[in-house]
């Protein structure tokens, strides 16, 4: 329960932090909700830990009218905590799905300390954020000492616990679209009772116009090695009237063609079945909130 010795740096500017990780052998500490337990169990024994918590730049949550998304974007600093996102008036009004996802993460202690950047960079296959970020088609802004790049979330998360992040690179911001008026949203999750992680979690966004469903986005976490967009479900529901039967028919495809995870808590078949059930629930609630 006591980590191995390590060198500790707590830079106060992004520039300093980037210089410290430029060599590529330091481990970056954000909220520490994943890294610290691993270090205490000695499953991780980094020689150098760079703590980002004193960099004020990385905590900013703001709106930006131009650029990444046509309707405007919300920029969430990597160190914004789950609680800040869940309770931010700006996020709740401009991107309510993300606030709803954040409010479902772990427990209140974890939400007070854990960060969106840390969670996204860790890429746990059962984390909650990726479902929402997939449904939002979010982007990840990365930076090194030498330059910057922005990747769509489905290119950033490569596989279970693997991302496109290079050892000398930091997640600077997560960028999500400002939601179009009238968009319905929902995050429905089957939580593992002990850890709070998602056995499966489904995020949905829908729009309706003249009695027809015109827009559907569905993100699924927990089912496979990485979160993904259930495009079959989206296509099946778009253009229908969004009746209960339409929802059931579309949700039945949510786990189709997916190599499902299995563990002590839930077999692959159970996860597939729950994915269908929770997709239907998410779509139902999202449609009831759309107008």
């Amino acid at each position: 329960m006591i980590p191995q010795n390590f060198e500790y740096s707590a830079p106060t500017s992004l520039k300093e932090a980037l210089a410290l990780i430029a060599k590529g052998d330091a481990k970056v500490l954000a909220g520490g909700m994943s890294l610290i337990p691993l270090m205490k169990l000695r499953l991780a024994a980094p020689e150098h830990v760079v703590d980002l918590s004193r960099i004020a730049d990385l905590k900013s949550v703001h709106e930006d009218g131009k650029g990444e998304f046509p309707g405007g974007a919300l920029h969430l600093g990597a160190l914004a905590t789950h609680f800040e996102i869940e309770s931010s008036a700006l996020v709740r009004s401009k991107c309510p799905l993300l606030a709803e996802v954040a409010s479902n993460i772990g427990d209140v202690q974890v939400r007070n300390v854990g960060t969106i950047g840390g969670s996204t960079a860790h890429a746990d296959p059962a984390a909650d954020y990726p479902a929402g970020l997939m449904a939002l088609e979010a982007k990840v802004h990365l930076t090194t000492a030498k330059g910057e790049r922005t990747l769509p979330i489905d290119q950033f998360i490569v596989d279970a616990l693997s991302t496109a992040l290079k050892p000398n690179e930091l997640v600077r911001e997560i960028i999500v679209p400002v939601e179009t008026r009238g968009t319905g949203f929902s995050y429905q999750k089957l939580a593992q009772p002990a850890s709070g992680f998602a056995v499966v979690g489904v995020a949905a966004r829908v729009r309706k116009s003249a009695g027809k469903v015109t827009f559907v986005r569905v993100g699924v976490t927990g089912l496979a090695g990485k979160a993904f967009r259930a495009t079959r479900v989206e296509k099946l529901l778009e253009g229908t009237s969004g009746s209960a039967a339409d929802i059931q028919k579309a949700a039945a495809q949510a786990a189709e063609g997916v190599d499902a995870n299995t563990d002590l808590h839930a077999s692959a078949d159970y996860r597939r079945q729950m994915t269908k059930v929770f997709t239907a629930r998410a779509l139902t609630q999202a449609l009831s909130r759309a107008d």
Binding site: S34, R42, L43, A44, D159, A160, N261
Partner: protein, 163 residues
Amino acid sequence: MKVGGSYTLPLLRQRAHELLQDPAILARCMPGCEDLKKIGPDEYEMQMKVVVSAVQGLFAGKVRITDQKPPESFRLIVEGSGKVGFMKGDGLLTLVPATVTTGVSILGSEGTEVRYEGDVQVGGTLAGVGQRLLDSTAKMIIRKFFEKLAEAGAETEQAAIVP
């Protein structure tokens, strides 16, 4: 824990079988493999450094190949242990001629489907706290291995044709 699946390589069956038993190729394709030495017929000693997210595990182990039926199948037995835990795996690999539908192959569409089916046991701290992640991580490592193998295979084919 049961593992099973398949991966299609853009290689002829004979060639795929050879590659899967070539220590130099295996050392290159196994994620984190730092050393692979032949210690007897169909028996190898291996050092692996598995890096998954923040977890770094140093494993020392042995790989054995039995039930050789070239070129269609063989059994692979892997054992390893390190500070963070131990693992034991036993799997049957079956090679079936197949048609390649994706990826570039200089051989055209002829390929080989490698089917694997086996049992993996993981113990120690790693399994105690990582149970939830073992399945998805094992699948990821197997996927990476075959991706690299396809790459290595394509390179050696290229080298054989273009001197």
